[in-house]
């Protein structure tokens, strides 16, 4: 293979790699949880309006009240949110925010956006809380713990 051919093929490979990275960047899906729960940031409490409509990236606006969460699926990092305050003094807020590429689920705080909090507080990583056992499951675990362990339990043959 001539050096010219090698350079051409390497350039093509590099271009494909760059294109792949860019496609991943713009196509990566995120689940946004639009949240209207009150938040306290640096000792200051932010509350959402009584009734708002929220639209992300030009999607159909959704009605929301206080202390609610809705789920929106988006792709890419940069997003545009339009919040229309319906109750009280009607106003429309349009902001842009970014979701880190590897953050699958993000919590978007509406009170923080409406209250002009610093942009780094608008989007936070969402981590699902550990599920608590139901009373029946707790009783089951307690029952399991109370059972005597056979002395040779570890030497029992495993099922095929």
């Amino acid at each position: 293979m001539s050096s010219r051919s090698l350079i051409q093929r390497s350039a093509l490979l590099f271009a494909l790699l760059v294109l792949s990275a860019w496609l991943f960047y713009i196509g990566k899906a995120h689940t946004l949880l639009i949240d209207t729960n009150a938040v306290t940031l640096d000792g200051r409490e932010f509350k959402s309006a009584e009734a708002i409509t929220v639209s992300v990236d030009g999607k159909t606006p959704e009605d929301m009240g206080r202390a609610e969460r809705i789920l929106v699926s988006v792709s890419g990092q940069q997003h545009r949110i339009v919040i229309e305050v319906v109750s009280g003094g009607a106003r429309k807020v349009e902001k842009r925010f970014a979701v880190p590429t590897f953050m699958d689920s993000a919590l978007v705080s509406i009170p923080a956006i409406l209250g002009d909090a610093a942009p780094e507080h608008w989007v936070t990583k969402f981590t699902a809380a550990d599920r608590e056992d139901t009373p029946a499951e707790q009783m089951q675990h307690e029952g399991d713990a109370a059972l005597p362990t056979p002395p040779d339990a570890k030497s029992l043959p495993s099922k095929p």
Binding site: L16, S20, L23, G27, K28, A29
Partner: protein
């Protein structure tokens, strides 16, 4: 005049047979024209690309490329990865195509190299190679993924912790090509963008035939010995034909599956070769000659028969399963019929040329076949 008519009937025997079958089955099925038209439009957008992938190996004299299944496997691996990584929409599909590209090229090179060792028996070699590679594909998808190859989405894994589930939903990319340019005419949804892609690849095939490499392929397809003597690297040209076919099959499988919206991990690729080859042959192609019109006519006739046969079977004998059996019968039967017709024509041609060399006039029937 009679021999011309006979020649026409022999050349188009498969197409005529299927037109007659469909003409009988459509009224029996009782399906409305609007339904059939919508389904045919959808299936044209879904399947045509895969059938086009078969054209270049035929041009290079390698017959019907049953090895296209290898490309379909590569396309599926690309789709599995983008689903795992959560890349959606058009970028997701393009990324799946890029991922499938090196796998398709490698598998195409492997397939082409093996076919060069089995010249004259490319079809059966490709068929068996597809079975062999299916085993390797299963090993990668059902064992290596999740154990050796990292899979980040636990919902895609089997309950044992490794291996991809039998069905993978493609919700993120479902019909994103078909709906990219929405167009509705008289209540019919037209997959405009899919048709544009098909038009582009058809143009590529037509353009490619005129290039130096395309001419080399045609020459190698007509006579390997003469082409080799003329300085054409026959084996390399044949490998390139199979590589392009495999790459197109990979992209075609991605287009096919984005329309369906799910991957059947272990079996989506298995029937693709058989159905695509059957569609091409129904369109009037042969083992040595195929064109874009053969592809379009074949996809329409084959899928029209697919659509109407279950209902026609139900209305005729009270069992919709007849249509399902009929699909299998048609797919394998038409390939067998086309191969028999090809061999018969070839034998007739050889007989006629031998008779000409001996100085005698060829018999009427043989002349017609020739």
């Amino acid at each position: 005049m009679i021999s011309k008519l006979r020649l026409f009937l022999i050349e188009n025997a498969v197409v005529i047979l299927f037109v007659l079958l469909i003409a009988f089955a459509i009224p029996v099925s009782g399906l409305p024209a609007s339904f059939l038209l919508q389904e045919i439009l959808t299936r044209l957008g879904r399947n045509t690309f895969l059938v086009i992938a078969l054209l270049l190996p035929i041009m290079a004299g390698m017959g019907l490329n049953f090895g296209m299944v290898l490309g379909a496997m590569a396309g599926q691996i690309g789709l599995i990865f983008i689903t795992d990584w959560g890349v959606v929409g058009l970028p997701g599909l393009l990324l799946a195509m890029i991922i499938s590209l090196p796998i398709s090229v490698f598998l195409g090179w492997l397939c082409g190299s093996i076919m060069n060792l089995a010249k004259g028996r490319e079809m059966v070699t490709g068929f068996i190679l597809a079975f062999f590679m299916n085993g390797l594909y299963m090993m990668v998808v059902l064992y290596a993924m999740g154990s050796i190859i990292p899979v980040f989405n636990p919902e895609m894994l089997l309950s044992r912790g490794y291996g991809i589930r039998n069905v993978v939903g493609l919700d993120g990319v479902r019909q994103c090509l078909d709906n990219l340019i929405p167009l509705k005419i008289a209540g019919l949804n037209i997959p405009v963008f899919s048709f544009l892609i098909i038009a582009a690849v058809s143009w590529f095939i037509v353009w490619f035939r005129k290039t130096k490499l395309g001419q080399d392929m045609r020459a190698a397809g007509q006579d390997r010995a003469v082409s080799g003597a003329a300085g054409i690297p026959v084996e390399q040209t044949r490998i390139v034909a199979i590589i392009i076919s495999t790459v197109l099959a990979g992209i075609g499988q991605i287009i096919f599956l984005q329309n369906l919206g799910t991957i059947n991990t272990t079996s989506s690729h298995e029937q693709i070769g058989m159905f695509s080859i059957a569609a091409l042959l129904i369109g009037g192609a042969s083992v040595t000659k195929a064109s874009i019109p053969n592809v379009i006519v074949g996809v329409i006739l084959f899928h029209l028969l697919f659509l109407v046969s279950p209902m026609a079977g139900k209305n005729l004998i009270g069992s919709g399963m007849l249509g399902e059996y009929f699909r299998q019968f048609v797919s394998y039967g038409v390939i067998a019929l086309a191969l028999v017709l090809y061999e018969w024509k070839r034998a007739a041609q050889e007989h006629a040329s031998r008779a000409t060399l001996r100085g005698g006039a060829p018999a009427d029937g043989k002349e017609a076949a020739a």
